[in-house]
């Protein structure tokens, strides 16, 4: 059971340096490909990215999921801190607002807060509840610019 006393909890900031290789690796994964040569080249090749009007390679739209998972302590401590049962955890919603570009070498700092916790009765199962935990993260780069605002809803079924 998610621990409702965790509402308002702010996790320690994570710091993640954006790596060129990770950008390509992530793009290969979401593109269901095997190698850098098979993906859109703005994710893999600096010259191709520049030709397309970018300063360098850029990450694909959901890449920032890596920041907390690799830059922080990973998923497990967060789940344990809120006291969610891992086997019953479902991802409910995910939302990104893109405010500034991200390039290799940028250093991201993210602060995640628990902004809402609520229950919803399961359809057709009176007295049985799904528990929702809403996290908000503001991600800034090394210049202090907010680059991404992110909202994640976790569900314990």
């Amino acid at each position: 059971m998610a621990d409702k006393s965790k509402l308002g909890l702010e996790f320690p900031p994570y710091v993640y340096e954006v790596e060129r290789g990770k950008i390509a690796e992530f793009a290969i994964a979401i593109s269901q490909k095997e190698s850098k040569s098979q993906i859109k080249q703005i994710y893999a090749d600096s010259a191709a990215a520049k030709a397309a009007g970018y300063k360098d390679v850029i990450p694909s739209p959901t890449f920032q999921t890596c920041f907390a998972l690799w830059g922080g302590e990973g998923l497990m401590p967060m789940i344990q801190a809120i006291n969610i049962n891992l086997g019953r955890l479902l991802h409910g919603e995910e939302e990104y607002e893109y405010l500034a570009p991200i390039y290799p070498g940028d250093v991201m700092t993210g602060v995640t807060k628990v902004v809402d916790m609520y229950d919803k009765e399961k359809k057709g199962k009176p007295g049985k509840f799904m528990e929702f935990t809403v996290l908000e993260t503001e991600i800034k780069n090394q210049r202090g610019e907010v680059v991404i605002r992110n909202r994640t809803t976790l569900v314990e079924r």
């Binding site: 979401i30 739209p61 959901t62 890596c66 998972l69 939302e95």
Partner: protein, 150 residues
């Protein structure tokens, strides 16, 4: 190549090009786990999935969102994406390689429709509603995105 999108040429009700993924395999899921850092065993360890009454592992929802993002950025330039949000409505099981009939449940089809044209933050933007369903029609993701269009 589709011709460049312009604010004048695009209309509410227009469809975004339909995108069909490869059938998701356990190998895709493992690759995504490593790339993203999400090592929830529910996504790679069948013995763990079975402890929770599930017949097999399931894909990361974020892999399906990633595939959905790929569908969007095959249509609009990455640099023009302003917002992207989804609600996950069903789990996605990978295909079993020894069961060709399981291919459809693991194939993600992304569709979208322009629902709004507007100006915000000094630029012209469109909002599209999107849906990602498997090839049997089971909806995995409902969501929307906002993109700048010149």
């Amino acid at each position: 190549m589709t011709k460049a999108l312009t604010y004048e040429s695009i209309n509410v009700g227009d469809a975004m090009p339909t995108f069909t993924s490869d059938p998701i395999t356990r190998t895709h899921i493992v690759r995504y786990a490593g790339a993203s850092g999400d090592f929830n065993p529910l996504h790679h360890d069948e013995t763990f999935a079975k402890m929770f009454g599930m017949p097999r592992i399931i894909s990361h929802g974020m892999l399906v969102m990633g595939i959905t993002g790929r569908a969007i950025t095959e249509w609009i330039d990455d640099k023009n994406l302003r917002k992207f949000g989804v609600r996950f409505s069903a789990m996605t099981e990978p295909m079993d390689l020894d069961d060709p009939g399981s291919k459809d449940r693991a194939t993600i089809i992304v569709t979208g429709t322009v629902v709004e044209k507007f100006e915000e933050a000094g630029e012209k933007r469109i909002r599209c509603e999107i849906q990602s369903a498997d090839a049997t029609g089971n909806v995995k993701i409902m969501g929307s995105f906002v993109a700048a269009v010149s």
